[in-house]
């Protein structure tokens, strides 16, 4: 998990990872207390951490990537390092580190499920929770000067209907060939930039608006969503083609 300052963060996953580390810490302490012959604490901590190092298989599952650890590389390295000296005292902690990989695998799956329950990826307002500071940018010479009202736009978000995207290839050809309705025009000539997604969702999408002002194309990282509105989302001269 990588966190970049100023970037949206998936809070559900972050909470899961923190909880996972708490469990690892708890198990380490419990193991330490059980042992009659105590290992050195700082060495023990490093052993758990190195034990985590493993060869992973990346399995795509439910729209996310789960890491299935197969080879305990960290444990092997530690074994080579300790040999006979005090391997017995640290062996458990090395394997504890390796086992933590499976704990984090469970964390990834659970937090993924929880994320899906909390944030509706099919709801446009998940990506457009705050449009107060957003703006409309024309991205193609076929864009017109448009005015838009953020509060009116936000109020229309709830009324949107899922649109049919199955002929997106036709959209492409309609812009590509002569005598087609969008020849030399772009069907989605406006981009909505600067919108904020739902807090903690970590979801990001680039949002485009259709030439007639009534279509919304949400290009998220994993897939695109297309919505239609009864009323125009932006006000301008819609080009009749």
């Amino acid at each position: 998990m990588q966190i970049v300052f100023g970037q949206p963060v998936n809070m559900v996953h972050l909470a899961g990872v923190l909880a996972g580390w708490c469990i690892v810490l708890y198990l380490t302490i419990r193991q330490y207390r059980k042992l009659p012959k105590k290992p050195v604490v700082w060495k023990m901590v490093i052993v758990v951490w190195v034990g985590l190092f493993a060869f992973n298989l990346n399995l795509p599952m439910f729209g996310q990537t789960a890491k299935l650890s197969i080879l305990p590389l960290g444990v092997w390295i530690l074994y080579l390092f300790f040999r006979k000296r005090s391997w017995d005292a640290y062996r458990r902690f090395a394997w504890l580190g390796f086992a933590a990989n499976y704990l984090f695998l469970i964390v990834t799956l659970l937090s993924g499920a929880a994320h899906q329950a909390i944030y509706d990826k099919r709801d446009p307002s998940t990506y457009l929770a705050d449009v107060g500071k957003a703006e409309i940018i024309g991205i193609h010479p076929s864009a017109q000067a448009v005015v838009w009202d953020p509060s009116e736009f936000a109020s229309l978000l709830d009324t949107l209907q899922i649109g049919d995207m199955s002929d997106s290839a036709d959209w492409y050809y309609q812009s590509k060939f002569e005598h087609e309705p969008y020849y030399q025009h772009e069907r989605f000539p406006y981009a909505l930039v600067g919108a904020k997604p739902s807090w903690g969702s970590g979801l990001r999408a680039v949002v485009y608006i259709e030439m007639d002002g009534k279509g919304l194309l949400i290009a998220a990282a994993d897939r695109s969503y297309y919505f239609r509105s009864e009323k125009p989302l932006i006000n301008g001269e819609a080009v009749e083609s």
């Binding site: 998990m1 990588q2 970049v4 970037q7 949206p8 998936n10 990346n58 990537t65 703006e135 940018i137 024309g138 991205i139 193609h140 010479p141 076929s142 995207m165 199955s166 997106s168 290839a169 959209w171 492409y172 812009s175 590509k176 030399q184 025009h185 772009e186 069907r187 989605f188 000539p189 981009a191 930039v193 600067g194 970590g202 979801l203 990001r204 999408a205 680039v206 485009y208 194309l217 290009a219 998220a220 990282a221 994993d222 897939r223 695109s224 297309y226």
Partner: protein
């Protein structure tokens, strides 16, 4: 034993201080004047192949921010050359020199498109009247794994008055930077392998010529980097037929 420890830590401390000050950038001073800039360029080139790239006439010294400057010049070999300067380790340093005459993109910080610059020093050929920079992304559509997708075409133009600005440096237009930023943010959330943003947009330039159609390439090229921190890209000539004109 005790003394050994103290001496060892003192040596380490001094080494750390020296290392710190060798890497320390310090507060940026004034840009070198024309003569000094030319001398620096020739000094930098002297360890590489020269091929007539040495500075003959400094055209301008354009400061992009506190630590970055763009210095276009005409070389002894008659090239319209560009040099990229960075304040690093307490000194203005030539980071890169190009003599290809075409425009370049200079990314002052790769993760922040509002700090991308378009720089150029184009040989006045008598035929170029104006030129434009174009920000282009190809339209794309289809279906993969049962999911439909559609990527709108981006085509934005930034005209430059060549008569007034045969050389110059401008930041990416506001809209370009905002669009790129939006794209970069989304790609980063994809995580795993694509943390580094894969660019699918391109910048081109298109000279408006009096008579002849634009030639792609045809310029002699010579580019050499002195500092790793400099991130530049060539700007290719656009094929005018590729433009959409509604």
């Amino acid at each position: 034993m005790k003394w050994k420890l103290i001496i060892a830590s003192a040596v380490l401390l001094i080494a750390a201080i020296i290392l710190f000050f060798r890497q320390y950038d310090g507060k940026p001073g004034p840009l070198p004047d024309d003569a000094m800039a030319a001398a620096e360029i020739n000094e930098a080139l002297s360890v590489r192949e020269r091929r007539g790239a040495e500075a003959e006439q400094i055209l301008d010294r354009i400061k992009l921010d506190k630590r970055h400057a763009f210095i276009p010049y005409i070389s002894k070999g008659g090239y319209y050359a560009v040099s990229f300067w960075v304040w690093e380790k307490r000194k203005w340093r030539v980071g890169r020199i190009d003599t290809d005459s075409g425009p370049h993109i200079w990314k002052l910080s790769p993760n922040d498109p509002s700090r991308y610059y378009l720089v150029w020093n184009i040989r006045p050929q008598g035929e170029i009247e104006d030129f434009s920079f174009y920000f282009i992304r190809q339209r794309n559509a289809g279906r993969s794994d049962g999911i439909d997708y559609y990527t709108p075409r981006i085509q934005l133009e930034q005209p430059v008055d060549f008569g007034k600005q045969p050389y110059g440096a401008i930041p990416y237009p506001d809209h370009w930077a905002k669009l790129l930023r939006e794209e970069q943010r989304m790609s980063r959330t994809r995580g795993l392998f694509s943390f580094e943003y894969r660019e699918n947009t391109s910048i081109y330039w298109l000279p408006v010529l009096a008579d002849n159609p634009p030639r792609s390439g045809g310029f002699s090229t010579f580019g050499t980097s002195f500092l790793e921190s400099i991130r530049t890209d060539f700007v290719n000539i656009l094929n005018e037929n590729e433009l959409e004109r509604p």
